[in-house]
């Protein structure tokens, strides 16, 4: 507890530790830092000589136009998964920064049945989506196990290992999809079926294109009938509900909380850290992997290194933090980030600003959010002092 007198006035700023943190305070700090971040970000525009008011009015227009909102959902949907993926590990202070890699590995695995299809091996059509879903979850989960194991066994820093794995998975995609690579659309193995398909559509192969063949229609996630919204959103909502249940009503959620409070305390309480962290990271990697499944089956309909450019995994980190590790809040904050990113895309076209400005904004919001945590733990008041 301390008070600092403001010189020349009768007032002082008093800082007190909060004994009880009311539930709404973290949420208020989150919202305040998002708003402050956007306003302060205006300075970036001023620095490059663009009127921030002009920019905000453009963003305002984007935020209400239906087509842009569609685009925002499109960006938000994968982020919903990469952010929800972090809820459990972050709650136990296991810093999984590998959402990006687990997302990419999920996308790779989801592609496997499609690659077989274009090579001439069929499955019943209704099986594709469920199998791709499972493969993405399992592959992402396994990609998450390695850092978990290394951390639990030998205390290898999980932040660094997960980051390195991100680069490795992206290079894996480059290798698969580069011209001459095994999954490149020009691979002779796909020739018969894929070329016939393209001919039907009236399209030609572009020489030197980096990417797999497109996913056939029956293996794409459809829109919800009668709306413009992809049905992936329903999957996201169901998973948010399950995660919420796990966090609040199960032993797993309880153990995660105990470890998050104190790793040593958890040890004395008889919690098997190795087992817990492996389960949590399998779920976490799996959910990020599902993001990859959604990314390719709902929107891109193919796999290419482009998938790594958007940085869905990294955005998930900030979203999870802003959402205070609440899976349902993750859905809403992801949507907010979708609007932010979509706006940046349009600004790039209209004002010739790099779309990386969205990343700058996200970073700024993140910094303010971290600083804002001070107000979660401490009460700051202006008090009147005598003399």
């Amino acid at each position: 507890m301390m008070a600092i007198r403001i010189p020349g006035t009768k007032y002082a700023v008093k800082v007190e530790k909060r004994l009880i943190v009311r539930r709404e305070i973290p949420a208020i700090v989150s919202i305040a830092s998002a708003i402050a971040g956007i306003l302060l970000g205006g300075l970036i525009f001023i620095a490059v000589g663009i009127s921030p008011i002009d920019v905000y009015s453009r963003i305002g227009r984007i935020a209400i136009s239906p087509t842009a909102l569609m685009g925002a959902i499109e960006i938000a949907l994968p982020i919903m998964f990469t952010s929800m993926a972090l809820v459990l590990p972050f709650r136990m202070a296991f810093y999984n920064i590998g959402g990006e890699g687990q997302f990419e590995v999920g996308a790779i695995a989801a592609m496997i049945p499609v690659i077989f299809y274009w090579s001439g091996m069929d499955l019943p059509q209704f099986l594709y989506l469920p199998i791709m879903f499972m493969l993405a979850f399992i592959a992402g989960g396994f990609w998450g196990l390695l850092p978990a194991f290394l951390r639990a066994k030998w205390r290898v820093n999980e932040i660094l290992v997960t980051l390195m794995l991100n680069t490795i998975s992206l290079q894996l995609i480059w290798w698969l999809t580069t011209p001459g690579g095994p999954w490149n659309e020009a691979n002779p193995a796909f020739k018969e079926r894929y070329l016939a398909y393209l001919k039907e559509l009236g399209v030609h192969l572009i020489p030197g294109f980096k990417g797999t063949p497109v996913i056939p229609e029956f293996a794409r996630l459809p829109r919800i009938p009668g709306t413009l919204v992809n049905s992936g959103i329903l999957v996201a909502i169901i998973i948010a509900a399950i995660l919420y249940f796990i966090c609040t009503k199960t032993l797993l959620g309880y153990e995660v909380r105990v470890v998050g409070d104190s790793e040593r305390g958890a040890m004395y309480a008889g919690i098997n850290y190795l087992k817990l962290v492996l389960i949590v990271m399998f779920i976490s990697g799996g959910l990020a992997g599902l993001g990859g499944f959604i990314g390719i089956t709902a929107f891109l309909p193919k796999l290419s290194p482009e998938i790594g450019v958007a940085g869905y995994g990294y955005a998930g980190i900030i979203v999870a933090w802003l959402a205070r590790l609440n899976p349902i809040a993750c859905l809403l904050v992801s949507f907010f980030f979708g609007i932010l990113t979509k706006s940046a895309d349009l600004l790039q076209q209209e004002l010739k600003i790099s779309r990386f400005i969205a990343v700058g904004f996200e970073g700024l919001i993140f910094i303010l959010l971290v600083l804002g945590d001070f107000f979660v733990h401490y009460k700051v008041r202006l008090i009147k002092v005598r003399r």
Binding site: V48, N157, I159, M164, K352, I357, V370
Partner: protein, 319 residues
């Protein structure tokens, strides 16, 4: 003889690229010795790269580029220092925030500079301001070890810096103070050492070094101005190298040049027949190596009971 010059070329490349890692790693060693992790290196390096090249172009002086890159990154690091030291907040979160912020504005401004500020006339200046290897007469002509005498000026400067950092940390009073602040801040505080001030200094200088490293990458390795990431994970490898070096500036030399070599090896390996089909995977070699090395180091640290500064990552408060 042909093979000897090839070895020579390889070593020059490895040492030149290794210097990128070395400068950033030294800064992080300093910060972590005082007890503060800075995960923002990657972002600070992007900012340093942007500031360094733009200032160097406009002033036609690479040294002013290095200086301003250092200062800019140091100023941004004040945010991190304030969050971690004064407000005692989560160091990982603050570092990650700095990373994403630096990445975003570093790339945005670089792209903006290329599109709006820099005309063909300015871009023509790049060959004039960039650093070239300087061959020291006679010594530079020696087979193989001649590479040690054919580097750019900053590469030599970085070696001197690591000796200076080592000397300060292990042979001076202020170095002892910094280390004690990182090991046991309460005891250091009781002994009259200003914990908060030393940590601020270490974090700010450490962050500045990351900016310097980014500017070096631009001005001595790949002077390309584009609106896309250019650091490409090197900042994270630098953080891994801190662990590899066991927080010792002289051991950082070894790790930095090793990873310089691994990165440069890509250009040699891709020419070899058996790697023809997997060229993109070769780019992941440094990252796979980093995971393996980190694991070995962590096992070693557990076995020998050595490791990170005791108070690393923990905020210190007097309460």
């Amino acid at each position: 003889m042909v093979e000897l010059t090839m070895i020579n070329q390889f070593l020059i490349g490895a040492l030149t690229v290794g210097t990128i890692y070395l400068i950033a790693t030294l800064g992080e060693v300093l910060a972590e010795r005082s007890g503060i992790v800075n995960l923002g290196l990657e972002g600070l390096m992007e900012v340093g790269a942007t500031v360094g090249i733009i200032v160097a172009i406009f002033t036609e002086n690479p040294w002013l580029g290095f200086l301003t890159a250092f200062i800019t990154a140091a100023i941004i690091s004040v945010i991190h220092a304030f969050a971690c030291i004064t407000l005692k907040l989560n160091q990982f979160a603050s570092g990650l925030a700095l990373y994403i912020f630096g990445l975003g504005i570093g790339i945005t401004f670089r792209g903006y500079a290329r599109d709006v500020m820099l005309g063909p006339k300015e871009l023509m200046k790049i060959p004039k301001i960039r650093l070239y290897p300087v061959k020291i007469p006679l010594l530079g002509d020696l087979p193989v070890i001649g590479a040690l005498f054919s580097l750019n000026v900053m590469a030599y400067f970085a070696v001197i810096l690591s000796i200076v950092f080592w000397f300060i940390l292990f042979r001076t009073r202020i170095g002892l103070d910094i280390r004690s602040v990182g090991e046991n801040p309460a005891a250091a505080d009781a002994a009259g050492i200003n914990v908060f001030r030393l940590r601020y200094i270490a974090v700010i200088i450490g962050g500045g070094m990351a900016g310097l490293s980014g500017a070096y990458l631009m001005l001595a390795h790949t002077p390309q101005i584009m609106g896309a990431p250019i650091i490409l994970g090197r900042g994270w490898i630098a953080i891994a190298l801190v662990i590899f070096s066991f927080w010792n500036p002289l051991r950082a030399l070894l790790g930095a040049y090793l990873f310089g070599g691994l990165e440069i090896a890509y250009f040699w390996l891709q020419g070899i027949e058996i790697f023809k089909g997997v060229i993109p995977l070769l780019k992941a070699v440094p990252h796979v190596s980093a995971i393996i090395l980190l694991t070995i180091m962590s096992i070693e640290a557990l076995r020998r009971r050595i490791g990170a500064p005791e108070a690393l990552g923990k905020p210190y408060s007097r309460e």
